[in-house]
Amino acid sequence: MAEGTSKGIWNRFLRIDLTGQKGEFFSLPPEYFSLYVGGKSLGTRLMLDQQLYNVEPLAAENKIFMLCGPLSGSMIPGAGKMISLTRSPLTRLYMDSAHGGRMSHNLKASGYDGLVLEGKSPAPVYLYIDHEKVEMRPAADLWGKGCFETERLLRERYGQEAAIGSIGPAGENQVLYANVTYDFYHQSGRCGLGAVMGSKNLKALVVCGDLPVPVADPQSVRLLVDEVMKAGKADQNIAYRIRYGTMSTFDLTHKLGMTPVRNFSEGTTDRFEDIKAESLRKKYVVKDLACYACPMACGKASKFSYKGREYILGGPEYESISLLGPNLEMSDPDFFYLTWLCDDLGMDTMSTGVTIACAMEALDKGLLSSNDLKLSLSWGSAEQTAALIKEIAYRRGIGNIMADGVLSLAKHYGIEPLAMHVKGLELAAYDPRGSFGYALAMAVADRGGCHRRARPLYQEMKEPGSFHSYNGKPEMIVEHENERSFFHSLVICDFIPPVWPLKMPDYARLVQSITGMPFSRESAVDVGARAFAQNRIFNLKCGLTRADDTLPQRFFNEGMTRGPAASVTLNRASFAGMIDAYYNLRGWDKEGRPTRETLAGLKIEDVAI
């Protein structure tokens, strides 16, 4: 452990200079750990320190932070996650993207709290890390291969216990929403991390490690974890989550009439019976899969046939089911195949689905013709869609424009009203007309149209009329954002607290037991608040304004024709009122800028603009 640092944290990071083909260790000021603990909150500070708001996202000057936290490498439920941060090529703003698998555990057990990837390798390489052994190895024989084949080849060399992350052709071709696939069924999905890696000629990461991490009070940790595991074994909500994973989210959003159908035109589908969780489980799911050390195996391994060939897939998750499914009027197993294709090519299923949906709607409404796109594309056509996905991955024809995202596509053809995005990030599968909490959450989320920073549905479900009320939403969203940013700093999976007896105060106690640092629930809230203040400043420096905290005009002007949320539209004045209240709660001014007082209150006045 480095001088002055607590247990649970090595305070040892690896800086990889891909240009010069060398690596070096570095440490951070110990006070960074009491302010930020690790992961997301720490990363937002590093993004500011390194001034990444000044770099071109796909230039060698951009950097990628891949960070663990004090809980990484432990047996604490949820600790199998890691988080990556960089400037997004898709939005040109702050991005973070978390992923599961074994990377978090292996990197921490290799003696590192994180990596910084800098520069650009002259030729394709992959990074190999095993404790002090850090090498950039030639990847010419891997370049061009899909994520699954890449992982297969690397496992032949490094075995089944290595943590492996790779980009596919989409990342290599710098599709702006290319992603990274880890350990077969995990993706660091959104905002184009894969493109940044591709721009650096970095094909893959292989990490091995087995050092135990020193812990301040292992007894306390063990007692809490044992208690939690006992409770978890008997819990029906947990069993439900394991049985259906995120497939059951489709049942929920459909019930609320807010699952995207035909490019967010409607919120219910006649295909519900085929796509509901129980149907998919019965027809396709063959086992449950977990992230490393996680007792809640929410991953679903599926087997399906498409055009006479059999496939196995980790997934599909809800977002893929929805945005490649009813949002494109696709049936099963077609959207299973489209998910598999995106995973193998290494591109975000969400952005892919929303971008294609925009084109489909434009064609359907005659705003575009097949001549414009130089291809045929109709709702529900799996073959045409699969072909188009490949065109996107290889930036061919119309694929070259669509590879830049839905906003780019829409601007190119003058069809902006059909582009479902916030800040350039394609929307997640929650129609804001079904939940005003989500309307706010996605409008103000730090990385764009994202559903993971807050989750208002559970609370909205408990109060009649809450889904379409503007009241109380700013408070709810701020609370959720702070809490989740704290979780993403540990780094733990935010699927755990809703159903396990491991809530924010418990994780705060665990930070103290692991590191020895005094750490309360209030400390935890502050960690989260700092992350949001800092990434807001980052975004402001990238040119963000209040005008960007908004939603596509469809949700203000058009109502759905069917379902529980039929006819609902957002009122612009009320929506603006929510934004005002949100800024006020965060201690930001009317333009959404953190004030000096607010930053001083969070002890981070030194990041003030």
């Binding site: 057990a109 350990d183 077969f184 391994a301």
Partner: protein, 165 residues
């Protein structure tokens, strides 16, 4: 060294088809026997086959009738105990200076060695109340006891594989 032939064997029964590959059993094993959170020194090995297939290979000592390790052990550190499984008495081990004749003798390859451990790695049911079972939510692991039908019966422990379909 071996005394009389065992009549019962109690062992960890493995239903690999349900394994989510979370690895908590592996972590629990090392935590229990070595007091640290790491994976290398585990007496239960979980090897997924992805991305090639959904198979998972889970390997742990089956406390078999043949007791190759017991026979090969020069100090009697390995023996069938009253709980009907093969125990490893660490206080009597360490004599072989890394030669691990027990590991070489096991035809099923279910007793392991690791550079960071002077003792061989062998499932001993944690003395009768396995820690790995407590960590496994999919109920892959249970304790089973079998009676020997006759003195010539063998039980070849092998890689237990399963994938769910």
């Amino acid at each position: 060294m071996k005394k009389q032939a065992a009549l019962k064997r109690r062992y960890l029964k493995i239903n690999a088809a349900e394994c989510s590959t979370c690895g908590r059993c592996v972590l629990a094993c090392v935590k229990t026997h070595y007091g640290e959170i790491s994976t290398g020194k585990s007496a239960i090995k979980v090897i997924p086959d992805y991305p090639c297939s959904l198979k998972v290979s889970i390997r742990a000592c089956t406390q078999c009738w043949q007791e190759f390790c017991v026979e090969a052990c020069p100090t009697g550190a390995l023996y069938r105990c009253e709980g009907n499984y093969v125990e490893l008495d660490r206080s009597r081990c360490g004599v072989c200076s890394g030669a691990f004749p027990c590991v070489s003798a096991c035809k099923s390859k279910l007793i392991f060695q690791h550079p960071a451990s002077i003792y061989p790695l062998k499932c001993n049911l944690c003395g009768g109340d396995p820690e790995c079972i407590k960590e496994c939510l999919p109920n892959v692991l249970t304790i089973e006891e079998k009676e020997r039908k006759d003195a010539s019966q063998n039980s070849f422990g092998s890689s237990v594989e399963g994938c769910g379909q």
